[in-house]
Symmetry: C2
Subunit: 215 residues, 2 copies
């Protein structure tokens, strides 16, 4: 819980004082829904119940806001995933923990992550490069867990660590595209779906494997 200064100035549209965190959350929400360039500072300030010029007390530019959203998004999913796998020793348990933590962060901080995925390209240099490096570092952790699984004989050696990593992140990340928080699927069930597909596939095991690929 964020501690207020204790001084209430005037009724906000949402009942809260505008803080840096609140600003980030509102902005991420609007960016996810309309896109970064399609969302004006006018709309942003209206959602917070202040004038647009007042926004510049909290940020230096619109780009700065996007940058902070991207960094926050990646730091959160990385912290969550690292904490989850730190408790587990065996390769399969680590993979399970990673998948669950990744999906839970993805769907909890939905607006942040969706904005990062969709609007990272709108970020100028050098911020863009900095965010990409952060993301690469997180994905290296994911690939590390996969590599351990391969070494332990848990995962196939038919494909490289890179390729398996791409498959896993494909499976997990695209969820932000269609996920709606009010839907019936829980993060747990979605994680279990992806976990099952990634490890065992959707095949029944009869006649789906072998060397008779048509391509």
């Amino acid at each position: 819980m964020t501690e207020s200064k204790g001084r209430s100035t005037r009724r906000r549209r949402n009942g809260d004082e505008p803080t840096a965190d609140l600003l980030l959350a509102h902005a991420a929400r609007q960016f996810r829904m309309k896109g970064f360039h399609a969302t004006s500072m006018r709309e942003l300030s209206a959602a917070l119940g202040i004038e647009k010029s007042s926004l510049y007390h909290y940020l230096s530019s619109k780009d700065d806001l996007l940058y902070r959203i991207c960094v926050e998004s990646i730091m959160r999913i990385r912290m969550a995933s690292e904490a989850a796998i730190a408790e587990v020793g065996d390769p399969l348990g680590r993979l399970d923990a990673l998948i669950l933590a990744h999906v839970e962060s993805l769907l909890t901080d939905f607006d942040l992550h969706a904005t990062t995925f969709f609007d990272l390209r709108s970020l100028g240099e050098p911020q863009s490069a900095a965010v990409i490096e952060l993301r690469d570092r997180y994905e290296a952790i994911v690939r590390g867990v996969i590599a351990d699984g391969q070494s332990a004989g848990l995962l196939t050696a038919e494909f490289t660590v890179q390729e398996l990593g791409l498959s896993l992140l494909n499976l997990l990340n695209w969820t932000v595209f269609w996920y709606r928080p009010d839907g019936i699927d829980t993060p747990e069930r979605i994680a279990r779906l992806h976990r099952t597909i990634f490890l065992n596939g959707a095949g029944s095991g009869i006649g789906t494997g072998g060397l008779d690929h048509s391509f």
Copy 2:
């Protein structure tokens, strides 16, 4: 090959006459790279070697251009996939054919598909609804192939057709996010990777299944 009118007016920046098809391709390319709102009509016309006002001979508005890109994108992947599965009778063969055709279209018409995925939300009504309906109709075809596979005992019944469809499209579609045409991976290898993961998973088959899920 598009037939020219035979009359050359002046040297274009890319050596070609501006046609509706060429315009669409150039626009999709720029939209994919910078985003719809971040790409100006100025930049668009510059890539074609004409003045910005001349663009309006080919289109009625910037939104109209995006709409045509989205429709073209979905029609192409649908035609390709329908043609591919029409030749095949058995469920596994149809799934294989669908995956390969989907991935090939995705990577061949890379700019079109990426623009549709990333900037569909920038499209106003009623065009947006029209495109979403087109996409839903295509995804129904995908789900049909999955349903057939389930009926034939080829695919697990542990998850619904909807869920398996989401997993498969997660796996395939996110590829537009990281794919670069000059990379080393061919569409065929990427399709085979996703095909293997979706049907058999990445697990070695020892100790990855069963009821001992940690979630």
